[in-house]
Amino acid sequence: MGGYTGKILRINLTDKTIKTEALNMELAKKYLSGRGLAGKMFTDEVPADVEPFAPENKLFISTGALTGTNAPTSGRFMVVTKSPLNSTLASSNSGGHWGPQLKFAGYDMLVLEGASATPVYISINDDQVEIKDADHVWGKDVYETSAILKQEFGDDQAKVLTIGPAGENLSYMAAVMNDLYRAAGRNGVGAVMGSKKVKGIIVRGTGKVENADPEGMKTVLSGVMKKIRENGVTGQGLPSYGSAILVNIINENGIYPVNNFQGSYDPDADKISGETMTEKYLVKKHPCYRCPIACGRYCKWDEGEGGGPEYETVWVFGSDCGIHDYDAIHQANDLCNKYGLDTISVGGTIAAGMELVQRGLIKPEELGGTPLEFGNAAGMVEWVRKIAFAEGLGAKMTLGSYRFAENYGLPELSMSVKKQELPAYDPRGVQGQGLAYATSNRGGCHVRGYMISPEILGLPEKLDRFSIEGKAAWVKIFQDLTGVIDSIGLCLFSSFALGLSDYTQLVNAVTGFNYSDEELLKCGERVWNIERLHNLRVGYTKADDSLPKRLLKDPVEDGPSKGQVFRLEELLPEYYSVRGWSEEGIPTPEYLNALNM
């Protein structure tokens, strides 16, 4: 067996027990690892109605079968738990170097159970695992904490995963950070870690992850590396400009949300584009483990330097807040990294707040002297800080845009799906992506079925973005394939260059499982359905597979997508049908049987 270490590390914070157990390989064959296996184990072990902050909720930190191997982009891991933001089966993905290090220490997965009464951190040095007091770092930011834990560990090769003050303060938008600038950002997973009083996990491993077929792997690697090198996006676009290269592309297509999705085209977008970042702010690339793409950025701005920002971050603190001040965007991004916050949800919540002010629903005296208006860059940056520390109105914002706007009687001003804020694409002008948003198991999200790839970038082939024809089937395949990629520990960006058969070859060479393409894709389909079943158990229904009213009813007013609305009522029934679900969006027993679930 290759890829898998075959071991799970299970830590109970209540009684401070540390155990290792064998990975269930039968389940791993069906659900792979990462998002899939952790999701399956979560639903087997934890009642769906668990309170997210109750000790009974569990936090799975799960690497993929390929994490830490010599496969390209194999630095990913998943944080899986019940989301405090929206009760979905949260699966928040991160790159960096922490995941591979956990594998080198000998573990596929780490499960945190129970809750500590006082702050602790976990130290893993191969098979030496300790729960240590963290009083001295509780309250400290991600940068300080990472430095202190590394110093105490005494090995510069050790990797730190930590929450910031936002996670300690139980913000529903709190991220789990690693390598300073890499975030398992979405679904509020950092707050679950905070509720268990676990400040961080430092890990050092000296082992190796073996491949089942080392010779076969050499051949597969030479093929996939060539594809990544020769693909324009992974070989040139992303390495040169980072993900923010999308600012101009998405804007020129008229699907670039402006001022909390009130507009879809920004005439000043180039001021905050990837090209501008490269020209004025980029210091160096900041790649994840074994990544030939190296889209990660390291930038310097007027008052600081650090990792990022990514496209979604540039957009949300930029045009979605009516801001074109790149220094302010860098600052807001840096504060999110430092305090452990999800940039998309924080920016989306600030943008919703700006619209509430625009409509006169938030009274000036509520603002505590900090401006909250479209275009006010200094105010925007200060609101990020106030959210991290739950100060003033920031305490209400820390629960996300949906609950915040609901306070003022207008939850529809929250540009979210299942209470999670939407990313940087207006679905009215890109129908497949809209369907992926509406049906995303973890709520508003672009990386559970990245239809921008075929509908805008033309990869693997160009689809008409306004058309609904065939989109349901495309979305299903993209969702299932993403389930595979997320469960083997590779980066979704690899899929700009690689297809299903490349992943099958990689997985087979690493694990020796000998999947067919169809069997591997079935694993991804199981991942999707396990999450769907959890959502149904916690009370989600067909009515929740939807988008904010504005995107369904109000046609785009201007720009290249003028006149478009998202055509949910035509797309959703076809999607359920393609999925093999009932008309109410419920996987039938026969269908689940056929999937061997």
């Binding site: 993900s243 020129e252 008409d464």
Partner: protein, 74 residues
């Protein structure tokens, strides 16, 4: 007729970001590419007024042509 040409990513190198040009009537996207020294196969995304187009698209007065090499992200 006047057409606005917008270039992005590496297409800007040694050229420009945005330019308004006077073109003969019936000019096609391919004519603009030739004038710019860009081979059609280098173009990954070609938009006229934000809508998908190709080298054979005939431009009209006031059109905006946006040209991208292969780029992407997320």
């Amino acid at each position: 007729m006047r057409v606005t040409i917008k270039l992005f990513a590496t297409f800007r190198d040694g050229r420009f970001k945005v330019e308004s040009r006077e073109l003969p009537e019936e000019s096609q996207v391919g004519d603009v590419l030739q004038a710019l020294g860009i081979a059609p196969k280098e173009v990954a995304i070609c938009l006229v007024n934000g809508r998908d187009a190709n080298e054979y698209y005939t431009l009209g007065e006031g059109d905006t042509l946006s040209l991208f090499p292969p780029v992407g992200g997320g």
